[in-house]
Symmetry: C2
Subunit: 494 residues, 2 copies
C-alpha cells in the first residue's frame, strides 16, 4: 500500500504537468497572439519533456513493479498500474534518438504534405512518407507484437485491439455498407434546404444553448472558436470545447458543437476520484468517439431531436421559418458517395475508414510499398464508393494523419460509430420513453445514464470490457447497421 | 564561457516554467471556469515549486559561483549573474519550513483581513497581522541587511534602494505636497462632468483603440476583462493586459487601459535577446510603474491628449457631444484629499504612500507595535490630507498588501510617479515637438524613444543606473513636483 501511495504521488506530478500542457495547447489554438507562437512551442516542448522523463524514468518502473508485486486490491488501483505500465513500456521501448528522429521526420513530412496536397503532387510527398513508414515499422518492432506489427500501433489508440479482431469486423461492415448504398440509390434522395446566410453570433448562441440541452456544464468548461473544433480536458472541473462555423449553413456548426459536447460530457462525467491518477479521460479513442457520435448522430440527426430543436432553430434563424422539423431532419440525413472523408455522411463515412485501415495494415506489414498507395487508394474508392478521385489531393493526400505518423488511428473513428450505436440501442432499451424524452428536450436522464455507465469510469476498464458491461455484448457492427438501415431507409423511402 | 552557457541553459528551464505559471495565472483570472479552480491551484503550486527548487538548488549556486570566478564579459552577462545570484541568495536564505509557515500565515491573514475590512474590525485582524510582521522581521534578518531590516524587504521590489535613501526623499516630497494642497484649496476646483450611462462594449472598443494609439501590439498581446486590471508577460511576443470598466463613467476604464498598456509596452519592448535569461521584464517595480504612470497621467491626463482623443470619445459616447476637450481635461484632473489610496488623484496619491512607508519602517524596525497602527494611521491621514477616517475600513484596513506580507512594496508606487515625471521631462526635451505629436495622436515616436531608452534593457541595469542613463541624473522628486504644480496650478487657476 505504501508503494501504491508513492506511485500515486509520482503520477500526480505527471498529471499536473499534463494539465499545464493542455492549457498551453488550448490557449495556443484559441487565444494566443500570433507572435507568441515561438515561445509557446518552447514551453510546450519543455513541459512535455519533463512529463516524458517521468513516464520513462527508472523510478516509476520500480514503483510499478513493486506495486504489482504487492498486488493491488481495488479495480481502480489495478487499472492505475495497468495504464502506467503500458505507457512506461511503450515509451521506454523507443530510444530517445529514434524518437527525436521521428519528431523531426514527421514535422518535416507534415510541412511537405501541406505543399504536396495543395499541388496535388504525391511524388513530392512520397519519399517523406516512406521515411515515416520505415520509422513507424521500426518503432512497432521495438514496442513488440505477437501477430502483426500493426497491432503494436493500433494498441496505442485502442488498447487490446488487433488486426485479427478488426479485419473481419471491418470487412463485413464494408460489404454490408456497399450493398446498402446500392439499395439507397434506388430510393428517393431527400430534398435539401437551399443555401442562405447565417450570421455567426446567432450560430454561437444556438450552439451554446444546444450544449446546455445535452447537459454540458459551463461552470466546468467553455466554448470558444478555433480553426479545427476540439475538446480538451485541462483538469477536474475544466473540460473545454471549441467550434467553428460556416456562414452559408447553420448545421455544421451545430453538429460540431454536439460532437465536441459529447466528448466533453465524457470528461466532465469522470469520477473526480480519478483525478491525477492517469485514469481520467476515456477507455480508448474509439469509446471517446462513441460519445461524440452518440450526441452528434444518434441524437442530433434524429427526427425527435429536431421536433424539439426546430422552434429554437427558427428563433435564431427566422429565414428558416417556412421549414418543418421533418425538412431539417431530411436535410441532415442525406447520403451521397463522395471523395472526402471529413465531409462524408453516416452511411459512407465508414467506407472511407475501411479503405484506410486496409491500406495501412498492408503498408505496415510490408505487403505493399508507399509507391503503390495512390493507385490502390483510387481503386478502393471506386470499388467501395463508386466514385474515382480526379487527383491525389482528393485521394491519397487528403488526410494529415500519415504525415504525422498516426498509423493505427483511423479505425477509432469507425469503432466510435459502432460503439455509439451499440450504446444507443442499450440506452433506448433501458431508459423509459427514450425518444419521448428526446422529443421534449429532456436529455438530462440520457446524459445521466451515460455518466453512470460510461463516463464516470474513465480509463478504468479496457474498451472491450466496458462495452460488455454497458451493452451486455462485445463489439459488433450489427446495431450500427440496424440504425443506418432504419433511418436512411425511411429518409429514402425504401 | 562554458559555465555561463550552462547557467543560461539552466535558467532557461526556470523561465519556461514561469511562462507556464504566467499562463495558468492569466487564465485563472480571465477565462477559467469556476469549477476548475481547485485543480488549477494544484497545478500552479506544482509548477511554482518546480521553479523554486531550481532557483534554490545547489547546482545553480555552483554555476553562479563558477561564472563569477570566470568573470563575465558583457553587461548583459554580468546582469544575468547579478539577478540570479540575488534571487538564489534571497530565496535560499529562507528555510523551507519558515517559508511554508509564511505562506500559510499570510493565506489565513488575507482571509481574515477580508472579513475584518468588511466589519471594519481591526481587533479581528490584529493578531494575524502581528504574526505576519513577526515572520517578515525574521525573514528580513535571514536575508540580511546593513542598516535597517526594512532594507532587506524593499530590495525585493527596488534593488539597491534603502531606508536611508528613501526616507529623506519621501519626507521632503510629503512636505511639498502638503503645502501645495493648501495652495490648491485657495484655487477654483474644476467643474466635473455629470454622471451618465456608458455601455461596456463601446468602452472596450475605445480602450482597444487607445491601446493602438500608444503602440500596444495586439499581434503580441490581448485585452481581456478581469476583476482587477493587470498586465502579464507570458513569453516573448505575448504580453497581455486586462481591464475593468465602470458603467457610470468611461474614464476609469480608459485610464486603466493606458496604465496597463504602459506596463505592457515595457514587456513588448524588451530586447528579444533577453528572453529566458531572467532579464526580461523591468528594472524594478518602481521603474515598471513609471511606464504605466507615464501613459496614464503624463500623456493620458494632458490637454494635448484630449485634444486628439476627444472626437474619438464622442464617437463612442455621443452623449458627451456637448463637451469640449478642455472640459474632459479638467474633469480628469480634479484633486481632492480623500481617504482611499486607490481612488486618489495625482496630488494626494503620494501622501497615502508616504504615510504607509513611514508606518512600515517603524513597524519593521520594531519602533511601534501593530496595536498602535490604527491611531497612527488616522493621525497621519489628518496631518497630511486634512481628513480623518471615520472607521478602520477606510483607514488602516483598506489595503490588502500587509495581510499578504508585502512590506516594502508601497514605495514603488511613488517611485513610479517620480521616475515617470523624470522620464517625461527628458522625453519632452529630447523628442522634437513632443506635445504637438501628442495633440495629433502621433505617439509612435514617444513609444520608440521609451523602447530605446528604457524598455529594451529589461532588468539589465539597476533602477538607479537606468534612470541616470535615461535622464542624466539620479532619482529626484523635483520633476514630479514641477509637473503637478504646473498642471494643477493651471486647472485650479492659481
Amino acid at each position: 500500500m505504501a508503494t501504491l501511495h508513492e506511485l500515486k504521488e509520482y503520477v500526480r506530478e505527471i498529471g499536473e504537468l499534463y494539465s499545464a500542457v493542455a492549457l498551453c495547447a488550448w490557449d495556443q489554438r484559441t487565444h494566443m497572439p500570433e507572435k507568441g507562437a515561438e515561445a509557446r512551442a518552447k514551453v510546450l516542448g519543455r513541459l512535455e519533456r519533463m512529463a516524458f522523463e517521468r513516464v520513462v524514468s527508472d523510478r516509476i518502473g520500480e514503483l510499478i513493479a513493486a506495486a504489482e508485486r504487492e498486488g493491488a486490491r481495488s479495480e481502480v488501483d489495478q487499472a492505475l498500474i495497468r495504464v502506467w505500465k503500458r505507457d512506461h513500456m511503450r515509451h521506454r521501448a523507443i530510444p530517445p534518438a529514434l524518437y527525436q528522429k521521428f519528431v523531426e521526420t514527421t514535422s518535416r513530412a507534415e510541412t511537405v504534405w501541406e505543399k504536396a496536397k495543395a499541388a496535388s503532387d504525391f511524388a513530392l510527398f512520397r519519399p517523406h512518407l516512406a521515411e515515416v513508414v520505415d520509422l513507424i515499422r521500426e518503432m512497432a518492432k521495438l514496442i513488440g507484437y505477437t501477430e502483426s506489427p500493426y497491432d503494436a500501433l493500433v494498441d496505442e489508440y485502442e488498447p487490446g485491439m488487433t488486426v485479427s479482431s478488426l479485419r473481419p469486423l471491418l470487412a463485413s461492415l464494408r460489404k454490408e455498407l456497399v450493398a446498402f448504398l446500392k439499395e439507397l440509390s434506388r430510393g428517393t434522395p431527400p430534398q435539401t434546404l437551399s443555401a442562405g446566410t447565417y450570421p455567426l453570433d446567432p450560430q454561437r448562441q444556438f450552439c451554446r444553448e444546444a450544449l446546455g440541452w445535452i447537459g454540458y456544464d459551463f461552470g466546468a468548461g467553455r466554448l470558444d472558436d478555433s480553426v479545427h473544433p476540439f475538446t480538451i480536458g485541462i483538469g477536474v472541473g475544466d473540460v473545454r470545447v471549441t467550434n467553428r462555423y460556416q456562414e452559408d449553413e447553420p448545421f455544421s456548426g451545430l453538429f460540431g458543437a454536439l460532437h465536441e459536447g459529447g466528448h466533453a460530457l465524457y470528461g466532465q462525467g469522470n469520477d473526480p476520484a480519478l483525478a491525477w491518477t492517469g485514469l481520467s479521460g476515456g477507455a480508448s479513442f474509439g469509446i471517446h468517439e462513441s460519445q461524440s457520435r452518440f450526441w452528434e448522430n444518434q441524437i442530433g440527426r434524429s427526427l425527435a431531436f429536431w421536433t424539439y430543436a426546430h422552434p429554437h432553430l427558427i428563433r435564431h434563424f427566422p429565414g428558416l421559418a417556412q421549414t418543418k422539423p421533418e425538412d431539417v431532419w431530411r436535410h441532415v440525413n442525406h447520403a451521397q458517395p463522395s471523395l472526402i472523408r471529413v465531409e462524408a455522411d453516416e452511411v459512407t463515412y465508414n467506407l472511407h475508414i475501411c479503405l484506410r485501415f486496409e491500406l495501412e495494415v498492408e503498408l505496415i506489414e510490408g505487403r505493399i510499398s508507399v509507391d503503390q498507395l495512390p493507385e490502390r487508394w483510387n481503386q478502393a474508392t471506386a470499388d467501395y464508393l463508386g466514385v474515382t478521385p480526379p487527383d491525389d489531393r482528393s485521394g491519397v493526400l487528403q488526410d494529415v494523419h500519415w504525415s504525422g505518423g498516426m498509423f493505427g488511428y483511423f479505425a477509432s473513428y469507425t469503432l466510435g460509430n459502432l460503439y455509439g450505436a451499440q450504446i444507443a440501442e442499450t440506452a433506448e432499451r433501458e431508459i423509459p420513453g427514450f425518444w419521448d424524452k428526446v422529443q421534449t428536450g429532456q436529455l438530462a436522464p440520457i446524459r445521466e445514464w451515460l455518466r453512470e455507465n460510461v463516463h464516470r469510469h474513465g480509463r478504468v476498464y479496457l474498451p472491450e470490457e466496458l462495452v460488455k458491461r454497458v451493452t451486455g455484448s462485445g463489439l459488433s457492427a450489427e446495431p450500427f447497421l440496424r440504425y443506418v438501415r432504419a433511418k436512411y431507409g425511411e429518409v429514402y423511402g425504401l
